[in-house]
């Protein structure tokens, strides 16, 4: 069967992690995996730039990590389960980190979740959402 990676581009506000993305983000995700070790978490937090320079990541990927721009990390091949190691190192929860990718602050995001979450209506496709 011929793979169709383009089909996911129609999902608004969503980056699907594909086998292609996995190749693009390999070094970024490898760096994230290294943070499973407490010793590496300490070393990373003590001097982020030098720790990142130990990895063959692109400068865009490094900048995205340094500025905690999770959307930019996704755009550059990161996957959220890998990226979670970065915010876990700082003791942040998924809700705290994930909310930064939305147009809400964490309180607003938590209130939305308590009220039943984001309604799918209007978010099924870029066409439905009316964005390019």
């Amino acid at each position: 069967m011929k793979p169709d990676f383009e089909q996911f581009k129609d999902l608004p506000g969503t980056t699907i992690f594909t086998i292609e993305k996995g190749r693009e983000g390999f070094q970024l995700n490898e760096f994230c995996m290294s943070l499973r070790k407490e010793e590496n978490r300490r070393r990373f937090l003590a001097d982020e730039r030098s720790y990142l320079d130990e990895w063959e990541m692109t400068e865009d990927q490094k900048q995205a990590v340094l500025t905690r721009d999770f959307q930019k990390m996704l755009d550059n091949g990161g996957n959220v389960y890998f990226l979670s190691k970065i915010f876990a190192a700082e003791g942040l929860s998924y809700v705290q980190a994930v909310s930064t990718m939305t147009d809400m602050n964490v309180e607003q995001y938590q209130a939305m979740m308590l009220a039943g979450g984001r309604n799918v209506e209007g978010w099924r496709s870029k066409k439905e959402r009316d964005v390019a």
Binding site: L11, R41, V80, Y94, T102, G116, V120
Partner: protein
């Protein structure tokens, strides 16, 4: 003869594990969710399996992108608990069932399901949170476990059809094992959730409930649901629900619904839980 006596489906939200580990299950936020599992905790006391086959996914905890198996089975004597970045969960390590697992691995490979064989595996919240939900906080888990890891993180995930038929093959393989064992199969993950991008926080409870209805009554209609539909309707991480199809396939054609529970939200996620038993013995 070994026999699959029940199936359990449950979400495996990491924050649920954290709530248990930090003693927050009585908090206003968490209490209604944990109440939905009270029935299950007493049910499993009288229906405890010798072995639970736990279908789950690793969340970049043990498998990185160096090696990403589509299906992998743990055949070891025991499995340690991963450090997912916050330090390992303070839960017991997991005892394996090497003989049944080895039989399953061989049988399934001969049936054309090309499973990766794992003699070493550390398990993450995908596997330990369901254990905590069903068993609480014992010093030792009351059943042995066969971890069955499925790639749901990287597209292409296995198809629904493949998952349902893997479940059916697991049922046959279990029944061909000579030792008398009470075996359950647990399908974990889901339900609707998205933890990335501007669309994060998506929940679709009506879709989740329809998925549960179909899973119980007509799983064959679910097998052709494309990955894109899970992602569109149930969020990018909602695609984890394909793992429930493996569980369902292992229960035979007709099932009885013993327990059902839904709760929104747990962290970013719609929690769903089912206990099903096969109808008509070994059909």
């Amino acid at each position: 003869m070994a026999k699959i006596t029940a199936g359990v489906a449950t979400s495996h939200v990491p924050a649920v594990g954290a709530a248990i580990d930090m003693g927050r299950t009585e908090d206003d936020y968490w209490k209604p969710m944990f109440q939905g599992y009270e029935f299950s905790k007493s049910w499993i006391k009288t229906n405890n399996p010798d072995v639970a086959i736990i279908v789950y996914n690793d969340h970049a905890s043990y498998f990185g992108m160096e090696i990403m198996p589509t299906f992998a089975i743990g055949v070891a004597e025991s499995f340690e608990v991963c450090d997912e970045g916050y330090g390992p969960r303070p839960v017991p390590s997991v005892e394996g069932a090497p003989e049944l697992a080895t039989h399953l691995a061989a049988s399934l490979i001969l049936d054309d399901f090309d499973l990766t064989v794992l003699n070493v595996l550390e398990v993450d919240h995908g596997l330990t949170v369901p254990l905590s939900l069903m068993y609480g906080t014992p010093d030792k888990w009351p059943s042995k476990v066969i971890p069955l890891a499925v790639n749901v993180v990287m597209y292409p995930q296995p198809s629904g059809e493949r998952c349902l038929s893997l479940g059916k093959a697991i049922r046959r393989a279990v029944e061909e094992f000579d030792e008398d064992l009470n075996v359950q199969i647990w399908g974990t993950g889901g339900m609707s959730h998205q933890i990335q991008g501007a669309r994060a926080g998506l929940i679709n409870l009506p879709w989740d409930q329809k998925f549960m209805d179909d899973l119980v009554d007509q799983p064959e209609v679910l097998q052709y649901k494309p990955h894109l539909e899970y992602m569109r309707e149930a969020g990018s991480e909602g695609v984890e629900l394909i793992m429930w199809l493996i569980m369902r396939g292992a229960l035979g054609d007709k099932v009885d619904e013993v327990h059902r529970f839904n709760h929104v939200p747990a962290s970013n996620t719609s929690v769903g839980h089912l206990i099903l038993t096969p109808q008509g013995g070994n059909a």
